[in-house]
């Protein structure tokens, strides 16, 4: 009888502990942190396009962790130096804003998990058409893994999935344009 009463008392005393531990993620501070994290990551998704279109390669590379990775169907580039090389190869050396194309970023979906997050977003690359009119040239989805490092969110891995045109169609369009001009 004594033992049962002791167990009961111990169980009651122990009960508030796990409850308190569960409540922590719902504290005002924790909830506010998640709102701030969501907004900070939204900003990164848009900054990416601003730095890419503005040819600000330092700022672009700084969005990634030192071991960050950028991947598309053509290959993968790991580390900030490799990412910068890939940029210089595909869009040339950075020299101020370009007026030949720009990226519209939309449809952000962000899932937070403490100091890690995953995100998807969509991009539509608008290109200068033959008469200068803006012409949709490429549409796809970014799939990102992000981490908080030294209190700042960084991209650890970005996969650019070009949906239309496919890389093969893209090569055809551009070789036709080059031979036609």
């Amino acid at each position: 009888m004594m033992t049962i009463r002791w167990f009961l008392a111990a169980a009651l005393a122990a009960a508030p502990v796990p409850l308190a531990a569960q409540a922590a993620p719902d504290s005002v501070e924790a909830r506010m942190q998640r709102v701030e994290d969501n907004l900070a990551i939204r900003r990164i998704l848009v900054d990416y396009a601003a730095f890419l279109d503005g040819r600000d390669f330092d700022a672009y590379v700084a969005l990634f962790t030192p071991d960050g990775e950028w991947t598309n169907s053509a290959g993968s580039h790991k580390g900030q130096a490799a990412i910068r090389q890939m940029l210089e190869k595909t869009v040339g050396t950075g020299s101020g804003p370009n007026r030949t194309n720009y990226h519209l970023i939309s449809n952000p979906r962000i899932d937070l998990d403490g100091d890690r997050a995953t995100a998807t977003s969509r991009y539509l690359v608008v290109m200068r058409g033959p008469d200068g009119s803006p012409t949709p040239g490429l549409a796809g989805v970014y799939r990102d893994e992000l981490v908080r490092q030294d209190g700042e969110w960084k991209i650890r891995r970005r996969v650019a999935d070009d949906i239309m045109p496919t890389p093969e169609e893209w090569r055809k369009i551009f070789s036709a344009q080059r031979s036609g001009q």
């Binding site: 709102v35 449809n107 979906r109 539509l124 549409a139 949906i163 239309m164 496919t166 055809k172």
Partner: protein
């Protein structure tokens, strides 16, 4: 002396943290930090729903799409009204009838933009724009259909759900769109 004691007791009772009478007495314009935080969370959750809508649609994920609606959820476009999960499911099954439902869809995607959200407690109104992009003949993305949504959302079992979504096509008009779809199906 007795009166002072009563007044003191009332004062102490009123000063207790979390006393509902005190919170209710605060002017409606002065929301607490918790209420303001809740509103920010609600806005982010609703923005996510509007984007998830097109994610589910473009991935032809009928279950995920239907789950975004409230139990009495409605989808409306002109004279077309679909109410409740089973009618909404039928709508999508009809839409995907001639296309493979499984596997990623790489023929079209929707851009969701210009989101406006107004939250009033457990009810909210949202407006947004949609632009459907389809694969053109050479593979290039071609804007195909554009319009706006006007939504009413409610908090149901603690989660925001679409109670009513009204789709207002802007370009092309419904008549132009039907003509184009008829041409496409007869041409193929």
């Amino acid at each position: 002396m007795k009166r002072t004691a009563i007044a003191l007791t009332l004062l102490l009772a009123g000063a207790l943290p979390g006393h509902h009478a005190v919170i209710a007495a605060a002017p409606a314009t002065e929301a607490s930090i918790e209420q303001r935080l809740q509103r920010a969370e609600d806005e982010l959750e609703i923005r996510r729903i509007l984007v998830d809508y097109h994610w589910a649609l473009d991935h032809r994920d009928i279950d995920a799409y239907v789950a975004l609606f409230a139990r009495n959820g409605e989808w409306i476009n002109g004279s077309i009204v679909r109410k409740g999960p089973s009618e909404i499911r039928e709508l999508l099954e009809g839409l995907f009838a001639n296309r493979p439902v499984s596997g990623p869809n790489r023929e079209s995607l929707h851009l969701t933009t210009n989101i406006q959200v107004d939250v009033q407690g457990d009810r909210a109104e949202a407006r947004s724009r949609h632009l459907l992009i389809r694969r053109g003949p050479d593979g290039r993305p071609v804007p195909t259909l554009s319009g706006r949504y006007e939504d009413v959302l409610i908090r149901e079992d603690g989660k925001w759900k679409i109670l009513r979504r009204v789709d207002f096509p802007v370009m092309p008009t419904p008549e132009e769109w039907q003509k184009r779809m008829a041409e496409r199906s007869s041409g193929q």
